[in-house]
Symmetry: C2
Subunit: 661 residues, 2 copies
C-alpha cells in the first residue's frame, strides 16, 4: 500500500492557490486585482473508490471541512473520524462527500489496512466521465490541510539597523520575503512600517509601495508575508525585529563555477532570485505583482530545468495559469502568453517526458487555439479581439503594433509546431493539420513581413512605418521561421546593428541570447553577463531586476510604470544566465523527451575554466569540468553523447571520463 | 436617483445561498450532501459604470470583502470607504474590483449625488458580452451583506414543559424553525438535545434525526437553526429555553374562509406549512432536506401565487435550482424535475408577465432540452442517461419504469408546449420547431402507451406488464395530451377505479386534483380536503406532511425511507389546497400573462358559503364572497370577467358587484 495522501478535485489545488496568490497584491495597503477572471473552486466534491477486500478492514477518513461517508450506498451511517468504518470482505463501494464553505476547497485523507486515499481514487464529475482525484506529495499526513500552502519558515534577523528620520531602518542584508515579527513588551503600541527593496524606497514614507500600520499587541504582532530588503519602522517603544522567512524547500542540483568571479556572482544572484520567486508557482516578482504570468513562467521553466529536479512547480504553474475551465480571455489577457502556455507544455514534456501531465493538459490547449483562430486576417495572421481586450505584449519596448504584429506571428508559428509535436505524442491524428498550419503561416510571415532592403523582419506591414525591432527577428532565428540566408542577414542588419534599439528587459534578453547562443555566437552573451547582469550586481543588487538600463543613475533604477518604486528588484525573468550557462557553456540539452538521450556540447565561451552540474530529471544529473584543455564528465544517467572536436562520444554511466577539448 | 443597492455578479446571490442551503442537511449530527453538483461562485468581480456628470461629485463605495477603485483607468488611487473619490465633470468610467476569499461572493454598495450602485451597473464577463449586475431590494443599506440572508427573527418560548425520562420535553405548540437558545447561570454545563417534529421522535434519543450536544457557556448557548415542534433536553442545571424563530417576512394577500370548519383549519395549516418552507427559496421540508427540489418548487409556485404577491421567492427558487452555468446533470438529477423547471418558468411568466426574468432565464432552458434530447428512442421518447445517473422520479409510488416511462413523456410534451409559448414571447422563431416536436410526441404517446382494453395509458410498453397507474393518466388530462374521449375513459377506468392504487403523496394529489377540478369534477377534491388533509389535521398536525396514508397508525405515520422518523411533517407540497381552493372554489385564474385579463369562475363545490381573496400580482388582489345564492366581488385590477350562469360579466375596478349565482 502506498502512503495515504490528501486528495481533491482535479486541478483544484492550483485553482485555489492561484485565487489566493492573485488577491495578494497591494499598494499602499490598497488591494490590487488582476485584469483577468480567476478560476472557481467546487465547494462540494464526491470522492469514491471501489475496493475488493479479503478480510474485514477498518477504514478511517477525514476531510478539511464537512464529511459524509457511505459504503455500498447503504443506509446513512453516523461517522466520526477516529472511529472508522468496518468494511466487509468482498466488494466495497466507498463514497465520501466533502464540503467546505469558508472559501477553501474540500479534500479528504483516509487510511485503511490495504488501501488509502491516493491518486487511484476518483471524483464524480456529476454526469460527465469521472476523473482521478488529484494529489500532491507534500500533503501526506492527517494534520495537514492542502488549502494551506506547504511553505517552510526560518527565523531571520536584520543584519543592520540605522536610526534615521525619527525611526529605525532595518536591513536584512539581501532581498527577503516573509512575515515580519515585531516584539514589544507593552500592548497597544502604535507602529508604522515602510517596506523597501531599496533603502531609498523604505525611507520614502509617502511613496514606498508596501506599508502597514498597527497597534502592536501580543498575538497582534506578526505581519502578512511581504518582500523587502529594508523596513523602516516608526514606533515610540523598543522593538525586537525579526522575520519568519517564508520559502519552498527546493533542493538545488544545478551549479556553476568558472574562472570569472563576476560571472560566478551573477550565477549566484540569479539562483537566489529564482528561489525567492519559486513559491506556489513561479512568481514574476515578489514585491509587487506576486502573480503568475505566462511569459515569465515560460522562462522560469528553462531556468528551473537547469537548477533543480523539482518539476512539481512547473506543473503547478501551468495549471495555475490555465485552470480547469475553458477560458474566455487569453492567459493574463495577453495573446503571446497563451502561445507561451502551449510552448511551455511542450518544453516541459521535452524536459521530463511526463506523459501523464501532457495527457491531462493537452486537451486544454484547444480552447486557446480556438481563441487565436477566431480572429485572423486573410493571411492567417492572428489579430486578437479588441472586444475581448486582448493584449499583444511582446516586451516592455516601444514597438509598432499596428495590424498583425510580426513577433506574435512568429510565436504562433512556434505554437503550431509545438501542437504538432504534442499531437504526435498523444496520437490524436491532428499533427498533419497543425503541420500544415505552421507551414502556411511561415510562408506568409516571410512574404509579408520581410523587408529585403532593411535585411530583417518589420514589426508591422499595415502601418507603412516598416519599423525594424529586434524582437521578431530574434524569434525568427530562435524558432527557425526563416531561411539560413535571412538569419545571417538578421544577425548582420538587426542584432549587430547598434542603431536598432537594444533590448532593456532581462525578459527579452533571454530570447535574444538564446537565439544567438543557439547559432554558436557567444560574444554578446559573455558581454551581457558582465555589462548587463554584472552591471546590476555592481550596483549592489542581491537579486536580479525587472528592467535594467545601464545608462540610468541612482533612483532612476527604481522607477517603472510611472511610479517612483514601480520596478521590481527581484524578478524571476532576471535569472536566465542559469539556463544559458547550463545549456551553452556546460552545453547540456535533451535530444529526446526526458533526457532519454542528451547531448553535451561544452564551450568555455572564452573563460579559462568552468565547472558545474546540470539536473537531468528525476534524481539524475551530470557534472562537467573544463580546465587546461580537457573536459571531465560524470553522470548517473545513460543516453548521453559528448559533442567535441567534431566527434560524438558516448558518455558512460557512473564513470568519469576525461577528454581533450 | 434610485436608492443605492448592493450589487453582485448575475445569479451569484442565488448560487451562493443554494450552496449554503444544500450543505445544511444533517442527520444525527452527520452532514448529508445532495447527490448533485452545486454551482460555483466567482471570488472576484469587476463592476463598472460610465457616468456623465455636470458638476464634480463625490462617490463613495464599499465592498463586502476586498475592494479596488479606478476612475478613467487612471493611476491607482489609495481608497478608503468613507473618504470617497471626487469625480470630475464630464465622463467618468468608474471601475470597482471586488474580491472575497472567505467563501462568500463579492458585492459592492456605493452612493454618489446623482448615481448609486444599482441594476444599471455592469459586470465584466472577461471576454464575453458584459452583463448587468444583479440586485435584490432587500439589500439597500451599507451595513448589510448579501452573503447573510435576509431572515428576520422573533423570540418565542415553549408552550409546555414535561419532565420525563430524566430530562425535560419542551413543546413549542406547533412546528417551528429557528435557533434554540439555552440560558444557564453556570458555565461549562453539559447538555444533550434531541429534536422532534413529534414528541415520539424527540423522546427517542437513539433514533431522532436532529441531535446536539454541547457544554453550555455564555456566548456558546445559541444553536444552529433547526426545525422541530418538540425538543427533549437532558441537562443537570436549570435552563431558560427559548428560540429565535427564523423567518422571511412575507405578507399574505390570499385568504379563504367557508362554512366548513375542517376546510378552514386545513387552509390555515397549509398556510403555516407554506410560510415555514418559504425561506432562501421554496424548501421541500424544514426538518430534513431543507433543499430546493424542482418538482416541489413547481407546486410551491402555484400555492404562493394564490397566497402572496411575493414573486422574488419564485425567481430566487428557479435561479437556485438552475444556477448560471450549464448543467451536466438534470436538476436534482431528476429528469422530470428538469421538465418542471421549464414548466415553472412559463407558469411564473404567466402569473407575473415578468419579461425581464423570462429573458434572463429562457436561454438556460436549452441546456436542459439538449440533455433531454441526447437520449431518445425511435419514437422520440426520452429515456435519460444511465451513465449520467438520471432519475425518473414521477412519485413515491411503485411503478413500472421499464424503458420509456409514460408519465415522463407526458411531462416532456408539456415541456415542448411551454417552450413553444416562451419562444413566441421571446420572438426567437423557435416556436414552430417546438410545436412540431410537441405534436409528434403527442401522437407517439397515444400510439404506444394507450391500452384500449384497459381504457387508460400504461406505465411502460417495453416490460409487457401493461400496468395502469394514475400518474400518467392524470398528466394526460392535465396537460391535454389526449382526446376528450380518452379522457372520459381515463376518469371512468383509472381515476374512479378503486382497484388502481391511490395516490399517497400530497405531491401527486396536487396533479390529480388539479386535473379533476380542471374538468369540473370537484367531489374527489372535497372528499380529500376532509379525509386526506383533514385526516392529518385530525391527527394533530400543525403542518402538512410529506406523505399520508390514512390506514397507518401511530408512529407508522413518522416512518419513511427506511427510518423511524424519516418522514417530514412539514412539507411544502402539502399546501396545495391553497391553490386548489383559490383557483377552483374562488375560481380565479389569469387568462393572459400577469393577470392582464383574468377569469373568475366561482364554485361552492358543495359548501354552504365561502369567501376569500386571491392576489393578482404587484399590489393587486380580488375578494370574493359566495353566500345565500349570491356572489360579491371586489378588485382593484381591471381585465377581469366573471363566468357565471353561462355568462361572462365584466368585473369593474374598485367597485363591489353582487350577482346571483
Amino acid at each position: 500500500m502506498g502512503k495515504a495522501q490528501w486528495i481533491w478535485y482535479p486541478d483544484e489545488f492550483e485553482v485555489y492557490h492561484n485565487i489566493l496568490v492573485s488577491n495578494l497584491r497591494e499598494q499602499r495597503n490598497e488591494f490590487q486585482h488582476p485584469m483577468w477572471e480567476l478560476g472557481r473552486i467546487h465547494n462540494s466534491v464526491l470522492f469514491y473508490k471501489i475496493v475488493d477486500l479479503e478480510k474485514p478492514e477498518r477504514f478511517d477518513v477525514k476531510s478539511n471541512g464537512l464529511i459524509s461517508v457511505r459504503v455500498n450506498n447503504g443506509r446513512k451511517t453516523e461517522y466520526k473520524y477516529g472511529d472508522g468504518i468496518m468494511l466487509k470482505p468482498g466488494r466495497n463501494f466507498v463514497k465520501v462527500y466533502a464540503s467546505r464553505l469558508d472559501g477553501g476547497f474540500p479534500a479528504i485523507y483516509g487510511t485503511g489496512e490495504h488501501f488509502s486515499t491516493d491518486a487511484t481514487w476518483k471524483v464524480s464529475m456529476f454526469g460527465k466521465e469521472d476523473e482521478y482525484a488529484d494529489t500532491n506529495s507534500h500533503y501526506n499526513s492527517p494534520d495537514m490541510d492542502p488549502c494551506v500552502f506547504f511553505f517552510k519558515y526560518k527565523r531571520i534577523f536584520p543584519t543592520a539597523v540605522t536610526e534615521v528620520n525619527g525611526g529605525k531602518l532595518y536591513d536584512f542584508g539581501s532581498e527577503v520575503m516573509g512575515k515580519l515579527i515585531l516584539e514589544c513588551k507593552k500592548d497597544n503600541v502604535p507602529c508604522s512600517l515602510f517596506y523597501g527593496e531599496s533603502d531609498t524606497e523604505a525611507l520614502d514614507e509617502e511613496d514606498c509601495i508596501l506599508t502597514d500600520e498597527r497597534d502592536l499587541s501580543k498575538g497582534e504582532n506578526v505581519f502578512r508575508s511581504r518582500a523587502c530588503r529594508y523596513v523602516f519602522i516608526k514606533c515610540n517603544e523598543k522593538l525586537e525585529v525579526s522575520m519568519d522567512f517564508e520559502y519552498v524547500d527546493i533542493h538545488d542540483v544545478g551549479s556553476f563555477k568558472c574562472s570569472d568571479k563576476k560571472i560566478n556572482k551573477v550565477w549566484n544572484v540569479c539562483k537566489y532570485t529564482m528561489h525567492l520567486n519559486m513559491r506556489e508557482g513561479f512568481y514574476d516578482g515578489i514585491k509587487r505583482d506576486r502573480w503568475i504570468w505566462g511569459g515569465d513562467a515560460y522562462q522560469s521553466l528553462f531556468v528551473n530545468s537547469y537548477l533543480t529536479n523539482d518539476t512539481d512547480i512547473d506543473r503547478r504553474t501551468m495549471t495555475m495559469l490555465r485552470g480547469r475551465d475553458d477560458l474566455t480571455q487569453h492567459i493574463n489577457t495577453i495573446i503571446d502568453y497563451s502561445c507561451f502556455w502551449i510552448l511551455n507544455l511542450w518544453e516541459y514534456y521535452y524536459f521530463t517526458s511526463d506523459i501523464e501531465f501532457l495527457k491531462k493538459s493537452y486537451p486544454k490547449t484547444f480552447n486557446l487555439i480556438d481563441m487565436f483562430e477566431a480572429n485572423r486576417d486573410e493571411n492567417s495572421f492572428i489579430l486578437g479581439s479588441q472586444k475581448r481586450g486582448d493584449w499583444t505584449f511582446i516586451d516592455w519596448a516601444d514597438m509598432d503594433k499596428d495590424g498583425p504584429v510580426c513577433a506574435l506571428q512568429m510565436l504562433m508559428y512556434r505554437t503550431y509546431v509545438c501542437m504538432c509535436e504534442m499531437s504526435q505524442v498523444i496520437g490524436d491524428g491532428k499533427d498533419k493539420e497543425f503541420s500544415k498550419k505552421a507551414k502556411n503561416l511561415k510562408k506568409n510571415i516571410n512574404k509579408k513581413f520581410w523587408d529585403e532592403e532593411k535585411g530583417g523582419f518589420i514589426s508591422s506591414f499595415t502601418s507603412g512605418k516598416r519599423e525594424i525591432r529586434r524582437h521578431a527577428n530574434i524569434l525568427a532565428i530562435l524558432y527557425d521561421v526563416t531561411t539560413d540566408e535571412r538569419k545571417q542577414s538578421i544577425i548582420e542588419h538587426v542584432i549587430n546593428n547598434s542603431e536598432v534599439p537594444a533590448i532593456t528587459t532581462p525578459y527579452f534578453k533571454f530570447f535574444e541570447l538564446d537565439a544567438m547562443c543557439s547559432i554558436g555566437s557567444f560574444d554578446m552573451f559573455k558581454d551581457m553577463l558582465h555589462s548587463y547582469w554584472g552591471g546590476m550586481v555592481d550596483l549592489g543588487a542581491t537579486t536580479m531586476w525587472e528592467q535594467f538600463d545601464p545608462t540610468q543613475k541612482g533612483a532612476e533604477h527604481l522607477e517603472m510604470y510611472g511610479g517612483k518604486y514601480g520596478r521590481s528588484l527581484c524578478h524571476a525573468w532576471g535569472s536566465s544566465p542559469i539556463y544559458l550557462l547550463g545549456r551553452y557553456c556546460l552545453g547540456v540539452r535533451p535530444t529526446s523527451p526526458g533526457y532519454k538521450t542528451f547531448e553535451v556540447r561544452p564551450n568555455l565561451i572564452g573563460l579559462n575554466n568552468a565547472k558545474g552540474t546540470v539536473p537531468l530529471g528525476e534524481n539524475h544529473s551530470i557534472s562537467i569540468e573544463m580546465r587546461d584543455g580537457t573536459i571531465k564528465i560524470k553522470t548517473d544517467k545513460e543516453g548521453g553523447v559528448l559533442a567535441i572536436r567534431d566527434q560524438l562520444i558516448k558518455i558512460p554511466v557512473n564513470f568519469e571520463i576525461m577528454e581533450r577539448m
